[in-house]
């Protein structure tokens, strides 16, 4: 489904990604953990195309996407939520989702028909809003949303793409315990047809939802395995789980 082979990335003298290789099976729930500065978000940037790899290859759905632009990869079905909220400012939740749905549906070349005619976009927006728990907040401006709801909308926007694979960057970052529970349920409720890769620091969330865990440290993969194996690894436990 999503395979990375020998990814390398450096910024000046700093090597941020060091020979990273992994493979995601369709429908898999993979967590990517590691300390700050390990290169997790940069790895996401390499996968989505926001940064070019210095070396290595990325395969998505049996196609080589290494040279593809971010929008091409998105059109191929690779969705992403960002570590810091990347919403459409000045609009309501509904408008955000309708916009996202319009972007994803490729109707952007139409400049003669009014947008409101496309009722299926509104329907899809409502569907996603309900899926991420924002069904009652459709007409609230995003700036007025509580932080937890904004993070949920962040995931919702990525879902509007109808992605085949979803990359979630620290979805519970900065959330209160209640909000974290809601987000955990959201991720657990995602359809199994979706392949999900999550960067997370909250170990409860990780052990709850992940089939497999990849541990990243200083740009390279330290360990890969099931949650039990990770918990069992003395090295991982000593270096990272103590942080949780």
């Amino acid at each position: 489904m999503l395979c990375a082979d020998g990814l390398q990335k450096r910024f000046g003298a700093l090597v941020v990604t060091r020979n990273v290789s992994f493979a995601l099976e369709p429908g898999e729930r993979r967590a990517l953990i590691g300390p700050n500065g390990a290169g997790k978000t940069t790895l996401f940037d390499l996968l989505t195309g926001e940064q070019r790899v210095d070396a290595g290859r990325i395969d998505f759905n049996s196609r080589d996407i290494t040279a593809d632009t971010p929008d091409a990869r998105a059109r191929a079905g690779l969705g992403r939520s960002f570590q810091r909220n990347s919403l459409f400012a000045g609009m309501s939740v509904a408008e955000n989702l309708v916009t996202a749905a319009a972007l994803a549906s490729g109707i952007g070349k139409v400049f003669w028909k009014p947008l409101v005619r496309y009722t299926r976009l509104r329907a899809k927006a409502e569907e996603i809003a309900n899926a991420v728990g924002l069904g009652d907040a459709m007409d609230v401006g995003v700036e007025a949303l509580p932080y937890g709801f904004q993070r949920q909308l962040e995931v919702g926007l990525a879902l509007a793409l109808d992605p085949v694979a979803l990359l979630l960057d620290e979805p519970t970052a900065g959330m209160s315990p209640e909000e974290t529970v809601a987000m955990k349920a959201l991720i657990a409720g995602l359809p199994r047809s979706l392949t999900v890769l999550v960067i997370e620091h909250d170990m409860d969330v990780v052990f709850d939802i992940a089939d497999h865990i990849t541990v990243l440290d200083a740009g390279s993969i330290l360990f890969e395995g099931t949650p039990e194996e990770v918990r069992g690894s003395a090295e991982v436990r000593a270096r990272y789980l103590g942080e949780a």
């Binding site: 929008d71 998105a74 960002f82 990347s86 916009t99 409101v116």
Partner: protein, 317 residues
Amino acid sequence: MSGARGRSAGAALLAVIAFAAWLSVGYFGYELITEIAILAIFAMSLDLLVGFAGMVSLGHAAFYGIGAYAIAACTTMLGWSAFPAMALAVAASAAVAGIVGAFAVRLGGVFFIMVTLAIGEAVHAYLFNARAFGGDDGLAGVSQLDLGAIGIDLADPRAFAAFALIATGLSYAILETVVRSPFGCLLVAIHQNERRARALGCRVERVKLGAFTLAGAFAGLAGTLTAQHTRFISPELLAWTVSGEALIVVIVGGMGSLVGPAAGAAVIVLAKYWVSGATEFWMLCMGLAFIAVVVLAPNGLYASLAALRRRLRRVVC
């Protein structure tokens, strides 16, 4: 999306005011109306770029000037009649906008401003020096559209003013349609969050190029109307002050509303004449007023009026 209804109401109001004005003024009034109408088309085209797509251009007069020069060249040098010349002029403006846009739209905010300013000056300098197009003497004798078939003589200022107003109305209708379409939605999305738009599969540069080309086409249309109005054109049509004035109109009127810049055109033209009557330093006044608007009411008159209307409604209801 959310402002569509307000815009329609505003447009209807402006149309009524414009019609009433056209019925009641004398000769000089027709000249003012025509000038306002043409500036309104030019400003609305810039609003598409600045207010909706978020691309601040300081060289938009280039396409305005190309439209004017194209129709002038075709009618005075090639002997064409006005109608095909107008069509070619709009196409030429759009084409040049497409070429410039092809590399300009890849640039971000401040870089884009600098490059568009430079491009505007480039076209200005070229036409200033090009003897083939009259150099700094310009071209005279531009033909007007022949509407004799429906009994209208555009040489009559009253008729031309009406013609200009109708052109403005049609331009608004087309731009409003574009803005309400999925394409318009994409423009706003890119303006609000380009990164997110890209992550949702948007071909950002292609959409921006489309907006830039369309804006160039309407600027060119405004240029053809100016050429037919004064029947004489010169490189001064492409001076940076023309681009600057249009930007001021868009910001003072209220960017991202189409209606605001159209109204702003009226405000600026009338203010310019009024101030010029009192002092020769109207640029000082315009500059200060512009700075005041940017600092105090950055969303322009349109937004301030809308906010005022909301507040009044709360008080009254």
